[in-house]
């Protein structure tokens, strides 16, 4: 009778038995893989005191030497900065610098003397520094034609260069655009003890620019020939790829205060040498209240003189060590407060109602922390 009963069922049974028999063939059971079961092997780091302290100490230990190295490198660099925009204006033009600079008749030559504070090993780099000059202005940055600079065939590709695109109706300006148009045109001549120092202008621009961005068959054309002359003129017989001043200038600076490489002095300068600089002060920075400086600088592996990175490394390294010590202190003096559940957000505000339970759980905690075994068996369940 029991055997007969095995098939007895209510109305619903048939459906389930159907599906279970078919499941043998085509089961919907998900296949096991560590991926789908979310059981991939993993490390589960948390910021344990050990990790935190170790990290800070390690960072500190790495940073401080780097900081010293950078600082020394920066300190080792000798740099002479001389602002000349004020000094190079004759006294009678002090209150009308603009008139002075815009007047092509005035004498723009200016003499400056610089004392070399420390020995400067060659190469000594010559920079001009402009302040408050927005070479990163969008209108300015976009106002060039890379195609035109690259190849002679694209000489008429000047659509992005307005208003310095074409001369007259149909004569494209090469190089076109505001950047080229406003090319820096101060010049410097150096001499030490009445002996002229040779300024090398070779290889002051990026190699990739010279070789790939400025064509060797592209010659200046119609440049600075209009009514309004911006900056320097270019020798129309020298291809653009060799006009390194232009190439340097065309790499727009990121910030309104910037330096650009003017040239290199390939001889060492001794300490206390007096350098005489003859400056042709042509470039108009007066209309927008800019500044001009001449910079002579050596370099180290870290580049020019800038203490910031070294100091920053030292500061952060020191901070890390300080933090490491503070954490050691914190962890030792104040072990993790095990028993305060009231800061869990869902417990806030309920303290009054459940204060009894709090008291209760504190008792339990005390028992556990201080190992009062007597109270513990109650919890073992």
């Amino acid at each position: 009778m029991a055997a007969k009963g095995a098939t007895s069922s209510g109305g619903a049974k048939d459906g389930t038995s159907d599906s279970s028999s078919s499941s043998k063939k085509n089961s919907k059971k998900p296949k096991y893989s560590r991926f789908t079961q979310q059981e991939l092997p993993a490390c589960k780091p948390i910021l344990t005191p050990g990790w935190v302290i170790t990290t800070f100490i390690v960072v500190g230990i790495i940073f401080i030497p780097i900081g010293f190295a950078s600082l020394f490198a920066s300190e080792w660099v000798v740099e002479i900065v001389d602002r000349y925009d004020e000094d190079c204006v004759p006294h009678n033009y002090t209150y009308n610098k603009l008139a002075y600079i815009q007047n092509s008749e005035t004498n723009k030559t200016c003499m400056k003397r610089l004392i070399v504070p420390k020995q400067m090993k060659s190469p000594v780099y010559i920079y001009y520094q402009l302040d408050n000059f927005y070479q990163n202005h969008r209108r300015y940055v976009k106002s060039r034609s890379d195609k035109q600079l690259r190849s002679r065939a694209s000489e008429r590709d000047t659509s992005s260069c307005k208003p310095e695109a074409v001369r007259g109706n149909n004569y494209p300006i090469v190089p076109c655009g505001l950047i080229a148009w406003s090319l820096f045109n101060d010049t410097y001549g150096f001499s030490v003890k009445n002996k002229a120092l040779e300024v090398s202008k070779k290889n002051i621009a990026w190699k990739s620019d010279r070789e790939h961005k400025f064509g060797s068959d592209v010659y200046p054309k119609n440049f600075q020939s209009g009514g309004l002359i911006g900056g320097a003129k270019l020798n129309a017989s020298i291809p653009l790829s060799e006009q390194e001043d232009l190439i340097v200038w065309m790499r727009t600076a990121a910030l309104p205060t910037f330096r650009k490489l003017y040239g290199k002095i390939e001889t060492d300068l001794e300490a206390n040498d007096e350098i005489t600089v003859v400056i042709q002060n042509n470039y108009n920075i007066y209309s927008f209240g800019g500044k001009k400086s001449l910079v002579l600088s050596t370099t180290s592996w870290i580049g020019g003189k800038n203490d910031f990175l070294g100091v920053a490394y030292l500061t952060v390294g020191g901070l890390c060590l300080f933090l490491a010590i503070s954490f050691i202190f914190l962890y030792v003096i104040m072990p993790r407060p095990l028993g305060d559940p009231s800061y869990l957000s869902w417990n806030r505000g309920q303290v009054n109602i459940w204060s009894k339970t709090v008291r209760h759980s504190f008792v339990l905690m005390k028992e556990i922390i201080f190992g009062k075994k007597a109270g513990n068996h109650m919890l073992a369940s």
Binding site: M1, A2, A6, S8, G10, G15, T16, S20, S27, K29, P30, Y32, T36, Q38, L40, A42, K44, I46, L47, T55, F56, I66, E79, F133, Y134, H137, R139, R150, K162, S182, W206, K207, H212, G230, A253, A254, L255, K260, L261, S297, T299, W301, I302, G303, G304, F308, L344, W346, N347, Q350, W354, K356, T357, H360, V363, I368, G375, M378, L379, S381
Partner: protein
């Protein structure tokens, strides 16, 4: 094959229900009027009118798009999102000179993002398409003329075709039943897919067509059917069939609906009347309401906030730009002459500075668009789809027995699963298996049956720890004895006094005999004899009925045949000691209804005696007992109470002998009542029944266990510990609901029960006397009174921390849900530890859900398995369907389908928690990285007189969100685990992080935003200070725009990726690959991009190889910026983690400290909540053990 197995069944009468046949004459007259204009020419292939009407094919398409509509429709969907629309506008604007970057670099990311999303749509739609194709290509036999039936595809069916459907096949379209394998042209239909009911429904063809039993008989069959137009109403149908010049009315009784299944019938013939999208089931399919998670809603707010920041930034920029532009011409003199302000365009014109500023504003809006992560939405979609894959593939949620894995039907709500505050659960089929087991009975005042129910087990467990040993012993015994016998579904009766025919030796053997016989006769089940083995199975309307018949069979009264007029049993004859066949003439069936609460049959036994056999609810039967029939009443009542306590469903059995006269009178009245066509026909039948069902003689009572699903108490306990409130909304009666409440530990002893019931004697008395309006007001006052009483109790109980339970029935609930009462009701319900609503209608379920959802604003989850839960599932924030026995209706309207209630535990506590955590940290992180990036752009603007020049190359900009930083975030969203699934389940309280929304609170979001600004500030100022204007390498070269940009970008990529690494708590090789890969990919990109022709790479040409890489400063700076930008976060995190850990961090501590094996410590962490759990069996145990603990606490 058709004719051979035709069985002679004549029991149309038992199913003679009112539903189908009560078609009023009036309806027929509607045919032909608007709405009832369909004309179907059946089997008229050459008829002109038939070919003139084009009703559309049976092709069904459920796809969202077609090839033609895909692009416009899905693009429209995409750009409905504000963020996407914004990016589209940016992309369009980028073709104008306003654009700070090239058009391509802003169009491409948008195309990628939109493309990926649309790809996902295509994929999803393709799946639907495949389903459609499968469905449309199913085969069915169709009449092709001359009595030949051939296979045809479903989609090729046309209106008017005659089809032949075999047993267990689905109907391909809506059909009119013509005939079946049965003589009476009846068939059984399972409508599980339509309404979720598992019981079989009987359909019967018209007499006029019932004799077409052969394929050949359709050779010359011609009919015209006129009927209603397609509509969505499953239970009505009006039509007429014209056959050989005669008109026959058609009713729902002849209508076979698509997606229902032919059962217990070898085959049927039918005429197709509605095809494809005209079918009732397709008309019924509405798009489920689309639900969005709370996190996503909040995310939108963040996006708006960022828009605001963006506008403010742009505005500030525009003002400064306007000022500086105006100053370019001073009294007609150029100041910044190198910009040629005298000969300029509108964008930089000093004379029209305000216009320039306004145009610049647009530029700035585009420039700072990096504040808003373009890839956010698409990343979240990808992450959610993958999370869904994990849910679907979780082996722990796969139900072996039914071969059903979990199935997330929508991926929108994954993280919502981690925030559920209240669960609304259906009872039958959800908490219980919907399988009834006959487990106990009380006959003649003696209780039989030693089986232990789940409830008893749970109850004995609740008595506290000291009893555990005892319970175990008891369980052990049960298991021993149950192992001996083969388990039979629906039967779990163990008592050697009765089984194996031993009842003969019991004191009241005659009563037992009558008792068992009654069980075998008084029902509406249909036996199904397996011809090969001779085994009998039963098709019954409800599982408890099946349980009775099975019990009777197991105890020796095997019901094996039912005809229209007789019921035949194999009876154990105590006198001869053998089995004899006995047949009872079936005279009448008085059916069960919820108002009658009983059913009776009247039979004539072989001695010619007339018997009325009756089973029903105790309340109904006891008041109908004869004076001499209540011999065992006291004892039986006692037993019934015991059974009810044990969570069993009880029915009382009684019988009565009728004399011929009385029966004749009754039968006449009954026939009269049945034949009447008036509206109160039902009532008349009831009245007649009432007269005869009296003076009964009590036999005993049965107890059937409504079995809890596996693991339900444990699951509820875990959910309760997680702080989730569980409400049970059931259609069952109060007693059963309370029983189940006890079984699931939602109720326990010592809990104060607030019962709001409409069944109180006062109300009943009122109902008898008063008019309806008076009763209603009186009733409402009563409910109000009860609720306010409950509130008072609540106020006192919160002082002595006593747990309350609210039990309310449907009628009172209707009152409590009225506008003026519902707030009070809600207040009361929220204050109670558990809430049980019984006798509630589907609509009430939905209303309760809505009330809680809207008034409390907390996340609600509804879980159910039946068609009656659909409203609730759709109303709740998350609807979970149990893909159990009750059909697919609930599943189809749910958001996630699981096979068993107990999987809810894992779904919420593990997947929900993880998904919540992942999505929320992912979004926070997304904003962090974009703010960090966007602000560097902004800071740079300040140094470029806000002209709109970007510091980065165009392609750096556009690939930032797409390549260098997105993949690690996606990995975070997919894989991150704060704690393992094992620990999630071990510390259920962890779930509260989601409910309280700790991880996505505004403070946390703003914290991340602040971190982003901080990172940006540090990166930018460190970079520009370090690279200021001096030479940056030995060759004396100075930093240009492109070098500063590249360096800064390198720093951003590193900082952002390392910040990610720091906030990840689960490092698999995938994370390593993506995080470090992102940074390495940046360098590779730089190399590759820099090596391209200068026309393409523009400012990035060789910038890395030539300028950056050889400069030590570049590397030192990167290292420095990386660490110094992360130090604030590390410090904060270390302190927070150590001294103010969040709950998941405490668990992480436990894990790393190796304390997870230390039960005492774990217990303590679990105890960290101040909110004590009040339901679940743990709470029970604690309630008992508390009494022990209170003593030592005194000091």
């Amino acid at each position: 094959m058709a004719g051979g197995r035709r069985r002679k069944h004549h029991f149309g009468r038992i199913h003679d229900s009112s539903r189908g046949k009560a078609s009023e004459r009036g309806e027929q007259s509607l045919i032909g009027s608007p709405g009832f204009s369909r004309i179907v020419y059946s089997n008229h292939p050459e008829c002109i009118e038939a070919s003139a009407i084009n009703y559309g094919s049976n092709y069904v398409s459920t796809t969202k798009y077609t090839l033609a509509t895909f692009f416009p429709k899905s693009l429209f969907e995409q750009f409905r999102r504000v963020a996407n629309l914004y990016f589209l506008i940016c992309a369009i604007l980028s073709f104008t000179p306003l654009s700070p970057y090239t058009a391509l670099s802003s169009v491409l990311p948008l195309v990628v993002v939109i493309g990926v999303t649309m790809g996902k749509e295509v994929l999803e739609d393709w799946r639907r398409k495949k389903q459609d194709i499968e469905m449309n290509n199913r085969k069915v036999q169709v009449h092709h003329g001359d009595g030949i039936f051939d296979n045809a595809k479903w989609m090729d069916l046309k209106v008017g075709d005659i089809v032949k459907v075999q047993k267990d096949e689905f109907f391909p379209a809506d059909l009119i039943l013509l005939s079946s394998s049965y003589e009476e042209a009846i068939c059984y239909v399972e409508t599980m897919n339509l309404d979720g009911e598992t019981n079989l429904k009987l359909k019967q063809a018209l007499d006029a067509t019932s004799n077409f039993h052969e394929d050949l008989s359709f050779q010359n069959f011609k009919a015209v059917i006129k009927c209603e137009d397609p509509n969505a109403n499953l239970y009505t149908f009006v039509g007429g069939l014209q056959l050989e010049e005669r008109q026959y009315p058609l009713t729902p009784q002849q209508l076979l609906l698509r997606d229902s299944k032919l059962r217990n019938t070898d085959f049927i013939y039918g005429v197709v009347i509605f095809t494809g999208h005209d079918t009732k089931v397709m008309q019924n399919s509405t798009a489920p309401p689309s639900k969005r998670s709370k996190i996503e809603k909040r995310m939108d707010k963040i996006v708006y906030f960022l828009f605001f920041v963006l506008v403010v930034m742009s505005f500030i920029g525009s003002i400064f730009f306007g000022i500086s532009t105006r100053e370019d011409l001073e009294n007609g003199r150029m100041t910044r002459w190198y910009l040629r302000p005298d000969d300029t365009t509108i964008y930089y014109d000093p004379k029209r500075a305000p216009v320039a500023a306004i145009l610049h504003f647009l530029t700035a809006l585009m420039l700072y668009s990096y504040l808003i992560p373009i890839s956010l939405y698409v990343s979240i979609e990808i992450v959610k789809v993958l999370q869904t894959v994990f849910i679907n593939h979780d082996l722990h949620m796969y139900y072996e027995e039914a071969d059903k894995p979990a199935h997330a039907r929508t991926s929108n709500l994954n993280e919502e699963l981690g925030q559920v505050d209240t669960i609304f659960s259906d009872k039958t089929g959800t908490l219980t298996c919907n399988s009834m087991e006959f487990i106990k009975c009380s006959v003649a005042g003696t209780a039989y049956g030693r089986g232990v129910t789940e409830v008893e087990r749970a109850l004995s467990g609740s008595k506290g720890l000291p009893l555990v040993q005892e319970v175990k012993d008891e369980e052990g015994q049960v298991e021993d004895s149950s192992e001996e016998r083969t388990s039979i579904k629906g039967y779990n009766f163990v008592d050697e006094r009765v089984t194996n025919g031993n009842w003969v030796n019991e004191p009241h053997a005659d009563v037992i005999q009558k008792f068992l016989r009654l069980l075998a006769i008084c029902h509406t089940a249909i036996p199904d004899v397996d011809e090969e083995t001779g085994r009998i199975s039963y098709e019954a309307e409800s599982p408890d009925e099946a349980a009775f018949v099975i019990a009777a069979r197991e105890l020796g009264f095997e019901f094996y045949e039912r005809t229209q007029t007789s019921i035949s049993l194999h009876e154990f004859d105590p006198i001869s000691g053998t089995k004899v066949e006995r047949s009872y003439e079936l005279l009448n069936i008085l059916e069960f209804s919820s108002s009658r609460k009983r059913m009776s049959v009247i039979v004539r036994n072989k001695d010619g005696k007339l018997l009325l056999l009756c089973k029903g609810a105790d309340s109904v039967i006891f008041e109908r007992l004869a004076k001499n029939g209540s011999e065992f009443e006291e004892k039986t009542k006692e037993h019934i109470n015991e059974y009810a306590d044990a969570g069993l469903r009880t029915l009382v059995l009684a019988y009565r002998e009728l004399d011929e006269e009385e029966y004749k009178e009754f039968n006449r009245e009954l026939t009269e009542a049945k034949n009447s066509v008036s509206a109160d026909r039902e009532e008349m039948i009831e009245e007649v029944g009432e007269k005869i069902e009296r003076d009964l003689i009590l036999l005993g009572a049965t107890a059937v266990e409504d079995k809890l699903q596996n693991g339900v108490p444990e699951c509820i306990d875990k959910l309760a510990q997680a702080g989730i409130k569980i409400w049970v909304l059931t259609g069952d009666k109060m007693e059963t609901a309370i029983n189940i409440g006890f079984a699931c530990s939602l109720l326990r002893q010592g809990m104060r029960q607030i019962v709001i019931s409409s069944e109180t004697p006062e109300i009943k008395a009122l109902e008898k006397v008063g008019d309806n309006a008076a009763v209603a007001t009186e009733f409402k006052a009563k409910v109000l009174h009860q609720i306010s009483g409950g509130l008072e109790l609540l106020a006192t109980s919160s002082e002595n921390s006593e747990a309350l339970a609210l039990i309310i029935d449907g009628k009172s609930l209707a009152c409590a849900l009225e506008d003026d009462v519902k707030d009070m009701f809600l207040q009361l319900a929220l204050g109670c530890a558990s809430v049980i609503c019984c006798r509630s209608s589907p609509k009430q379920k939905a209303l309760v859900t809505r009330l809680v959802k809207i008034r409390t604003g907390s996340t609600t989850l509804a879980i159910g398995d039946g068609a009656n839960d659909v409203g609730m599932l759709q109303e709740a924030d998350i609807g979970i369907g149990i893909s159990g026995v009750e059909g697919m209706q609930a599943v189809m309207s749910s958001d996630i389908a699981i096979a068993q209630f107990r999987y809810l535990e894992r779904l919420l506590l593990v997947h929900g928690h993880w998904c919540y955590r992942r999505i929320s940290s992912m979004i926070c992180y997304f904003f962090y990285k974009n703010i960090a990036f966007g602000f560097t752009l902004f800071f740079f603007e300040a140094y470029a007189s806000f002209s709109g020049q970007t510091v980065y190359n165009d392609w750096y900009l556009s690939l930032y969100n797409v390549f260098f930083t997105s993949l690690p975030v996606i990995a975070l969203g997919v894989f991150d685990q704060d704690v393992s699934s094992r620990l999630c389940l071990k510390f259920p309280l962890l779930y509260q992080e989601g409910v309280q929304n700790v991880l996505f609170s505004w403070s946390r979001i703003l914290g991340w935003a602040f971190n982003g600004v901080l990172s940006a500030t540090l990166i930018f100022f460190f970079c520009i200070r370090a690279m200021e204007h001096q030479a940056f390498r030995k060759g004396g070269e100075v930093v240009g725009l492109e070098i500063l940009g590249t360096t800064m970008y390198t720093c951003v990529v590193w900082v952002v990726n390392c910040q990610m690494a720091l906030s990840i708590s689960y490092f698999t090789y995938i994370q390593h690959l993506l995080i470090w890969g992102g940074a390495i990919f940046w360098y590779l990109f730089l190399l590759a991009y820099g090596a391209m022709d200068p026309n393409i790479s523009t400012t990035a040409y060789k910038v890395f190889i030539e300028a950056c890489a050889p400069a030590p400063l570049y590397w030192l700076l990167t290292l420095f910026v990386l660490f110094s930008s992360l130090i604030p976060y590390i410090t904060y995190a270390a302190i927070q983690l150590r001294f103010f850990p969040m709950y998941h961090q405490m668990i992480q501590w436990i894990r790393t400290d190796g304390q997870s094996d230390d039960p005492e410590y774990c217990h303590m962490v679990r105890q960290r909540s101040l909110r004590t759990t009040t339901v679940g069996y743990t709470a029970r145990i604690e309630a008992t053990s508390k009494r022990f603990q209170e003593k030592p606490e005194g000091h």
